[in-house]
Symmetry: C2
Subunit: 290 residues, 2 copies
């Protein structure tokens, strides 16, 4: 059967490992930023000991490490690397800045390849000195240039739509609709979307857009919660169940696309970072209904 | 010619007064909350002296005043009352709370009628203990009940879509699309939409949705700016030109619908409230390109 991704072979699959019925947390992945106080080596050890199936590595966690060595260490611990966070920030008024961003993203793709990460998550950027349409056009152009480079290295590129409260500087891609349209326009089989419930839970068109996106273009799924009230625009995310995001409903729509990847827990929280990280990890496991 | 609003006669028109060519600020309206340190009497006097054409009155500004007397005072000063802010908060898990909200909104409609305000602006509410779809259904039901009550009093009801960062408790209506759909479903000629650039500037579908909405359902237009960075989710709005909202572009789309109402400046800012309000008013006038 012809598949739209048949011409693309990632270095590793993002599909879940076969569940042998003995590890209930095999479908759960943590982002290293969630337990930011832990060094990467500690995170690998702790996640594996907790029975998690996957780890998503943030660049800052490995910036002074040998990525191939870290990749081996992850695999030896029995974890899958789900993705590398993050690339992007393609939009800029200045052409020199845009070229520097292309270079930086090639480095991110190289890093993913060295780690054995099959996916780079993209926060696409916005420049408040120009229109969002201009930023969107620059994002599309950059993706078109980077997609073949990533494909040669077996790496996929995942556009993450960001909450509209980040439209000024972080991303001009603010809905799943925007992300889907740009992924389809770029067209390469290794360009798709990463969905984070924090950014899109409010969108009345989310279910419809997920069904239009489909399995072939949905590369990742991030979970957390929206706290009521939210005290800080960046670093007050909650553990699942601490807020108002209808996670079960959204997860149902995600699974209805045929998506078979991990539930990735990505939480930025000064509150949680200040606490005992073993307890935080325990609470996340308890809160997860995989 | 038949008009979809022909069966509805507001107590006062929101259309601009005839510009005699001598008052360049006749199309400009301020919300009393923008100059919050001023009592309503001071605001009326200062806005009129500055040559503004309109005033939108917040309920807190008149809660211990005689509304008919305030209405007369506004008109004697040569100002138009553009709208009353605000009603809404229709969504609640508890049925008793929903009934209390209906009562509160009837009071707001009565207050608008007493003031001579042709429009009540609605922040429709959300209850984080239920789904956004449930909240949206309750909003639609409440509007269906209130529309005839408002029409009898010559008052229009304007649904204001709120930024998605307020979807937890303030409004389940987070895009112009959501607001248009609910206004059309309610159907009454006196139920429409109030657009505030702060809430919708990021939306890639804004131009298309404005053209679908059209003049008959666009009841008001609020302007300000999105500061970069934004330090507070509620009270860090900027004066036009202080941020990244493409105001000229959006105003062009608004005028293309045939909208003939005021540009209403609505700014919540602890920074500006702490400054000399005469200077703030002067800066707003200078920043406005009516």
């Amino acid at each position: 059967m012809h598949s739209s991704t048949s011409d693309f072979r990632p270095v590793a699959s993002t599909a879940l490992p076969e569940n042998d019925g003995e590890n209930p947390y095999a479908g759960l992945c943590l982002h290293t930023v969630t337990t930011r106080p832990w060094a990467i080596e500690t995170a690998i050890e702790k996640y594996a000991a907790a029975g998690l199936g996957g780890i998503t590595i943030w660049r800052d966690a490995v910036e002074d490490r040998d990525p191939q060595q870290i990749g081996r260490r992850v695999r030896e611990a029995g974890l899958k690397i789900v993705s590398l966070c993050r690339g992007g920030f393609f939009a800029a008024v200045d052409a020199g800045e845009r070229e520097a961003s292309i270079d930086d993203n090639r480095h991110a793709i190289d890093l993913a390849s060295d780690l054995g990460a099959p996916l780079v998550v993209l926060v696409c950027g916005a420049d408040p000195r120009q229109s969002l349409d201009d930023s969107r056009g620059q994002i599309e152009e950059a993706l078109g240039r980077l997609a073949p480079y990533a494909a040669e290295r077996g790496v996929r590129l995942g556009i993450e739509p960001l909450h509209p409260m980040y439209a000024d500087t972080r991303s001009a891609i603010n809905t799943l609709h925007d992300a889907r349209v740009i992924a389809e326009r770029v067209g390469d089989a290794n360009v798709g979307v990463v969905l984070d419930v924090y950014h899109v839970w409010w969108d009345s068109r989310l279910e419809e857009e997920l069904s239009l996106l489909g399995r072939a273009r949905l590369f990742g799924y991030h979970i957390c919660d929206w706290r009521v009230p939210t005290e800080h625009m960046l670093t007050d995310r909650g553990i699942m169940g601490e807020g108002c995001i209808p996670l079960e409903t959204i997860s149902g729509w995600v699974r209805a696309t045929g998506f078979e990847g991990f539930d990735e827990v990505e939480i930025f929280s000064t509150r949680l970072w200040s606490q005992d990280q073993d307890t935080v990890l325990k609470r996340i496991k308890e809160a997860w209904h995989g």
